[in-house]
Amino acid sequence: MNPFLLWFHKIGSPPTFYRIAGRIAPWCLGIGFVLGAIALYGGLVVAPRDYQQGDAYRIIFVHVPCAWMSLFAYGFMAVNAFIALVWRIKLSEILAMASAPIGAAFTFITLVTGSLWGKPMWGTYWTWDARLTSELVLLFLYFGVIGLYYAIDDRRKAARAAAFLALIGIVNVPIVHFSVNWWNTLHQGSTVRLLGPSKISGDMVWPLLTMALATHIWFFASVLARSRVGLLELDSGKDWARDIALADAPRDTVTAHG
């Protein structure tokens, strides 16, 4: 069998993935933390005051990366949901369900920080324009996926049902992204572009991009940590999980099986 395919199948095996994720996750956490600290310093101390918004614009350094992550997490969840539904790969089920709470957390941060930015800038904590409403809908979609996953007893069936729901809701992601182009919204249009020049000044963009990278790496750290727990739960009857549970036991309690 071709070595890449072999490696791919090995990765999908729960005990192997548990081990590998266990080694990668702390590094991701550490790197994410350091990059985040650098970005925070850049955003709060180094970046100059905006001529229009004064210091209030500094919320951008948390608001925008979290907004990007809320969409990225949903995309990650949807891709794994698709793989889980079509090929029934256990690991994809776990990865999809692990990314839902993280995505919900980022969406929540986006909404709260956006609201706190809106009050000084627009004079209101909330408005029902296209972008804010679709981001709120995104939060409810995440809650729906999480709720459905925990409502069904059979873990694999629950993951499949929640994955299906996640795929139905994917249509909201482009709506959130393009809402500022398609509708007249209070929320400003996009200033940071992937292809082509950005409309934001260079000394403000580097903390933004650094924080975006930091949140991406943090996301992976979190997904890996959560999927380790998910795999343990799913395979709780298997030997590999039992061995880990016994090895983890506090000294004075459980004795070895036998």
Binding site: V137, F140, F143, G144, L148, A151, A161, F164, I168
Partner: protein, 227 residues
């Protein structure tokens, strides 16, 4: 009609569902009563000032119908799930999506159509200007089948859960939001004298897509929840 053909299966399913509803025809009043109560609560809460009510009339009627429809969604599969005929339906050799389309159609006829008939009365209770009524009826006529189709997919995911009411609402509402925005938006645009055809066209496009895709999605969802 040849027995054993898909057409025979569909017409048998339609006749069966209609008969079952007819035997409990009193139950069709429940969504209507709920909508009436919801609409009646608004003047009581906001004061009977006709100007206030006029401004929110279309939106409130829409929300009342949406919520009544949500309550009625549960009856789509519950009876069949409890007596085992839903599993037989899923196992049948006929295309499940087509059979489900017939079920959803009968469900819409027996729950949403009575609501549509009552809608003018609800609008009148809130002093909706008569000129807007045709727009309201058109947007409801487009929105209610869309809500039934989307709702059916979500009910299929929660079929058989004992206390699925709150979860169903959580699943369904993010997907209902665009329908509500366009439907009520058309009415609000009409009352402001602006063009209202565009949201109605969006609703029609959504309805056409849902007519084709929702039964397929519903079939896939049922296969997942009944597995």
């Amino acid at each position: 009609m040849k027995p054993g053909t898909t057409f025979a299966a569909c017409s048998a399913l339609i006749r069966r569902d209609l008969t079952l509803v007819w035997r409990r025809r009193g139950d069709t009043l429940n969504p209507i009563l709920f909508a009436l109560i919801v609409v009646a609560l608004f003047p009581l809460a906001l004061g009977p000032e006709p100007e206030n009510l006029r401004r929110i009339a279309a939106g409130v009627v829409f929300v009342a119908l949406l919520l009544s429809g949500l309550l009625a969604l549960d009856t789509l599969f519950r009876g069949d799930y409890e007596d085992g005929s839903l599993e037989q339906l899923v196992l049948s050799p006929h295309p499940l999506a087509l059979l489900l389309f017939c079920k959803i159609a009968v469900h819409w006829l027996t729950t949403a159509l009575p609501l549509l008939i009552v809608a003018p009365l609800l609008a009148e209770m809130l002093n909706l200007p008569h000129a807007i009524l045709p727009v309201l009826m058109a947007s409801l006529a487009l929105a209610t089948p869309l809500l039934s189709l989307i709702g059916a997919v979500c009910v299929a995911l929660t079929v058989g859960m004992r206390r699925s009411g709150m979860l169903l609402a959580l699943l369904v509402l993010p997907l209902y939001v665009p329908v509500l925005i366009f439907g009520a938006g058309a009415c609000n645009a009409a009352s402001a004298g602006l063009a209202f055809v565009a949201p109605l066209l969006w609703l029609s496009a959504g309805l056409v897509l849902a007519l084709v895709l929702a039964p397929l999605a519903c079939a896939a969802a049922l296969k997942i929840s009944l597995s």
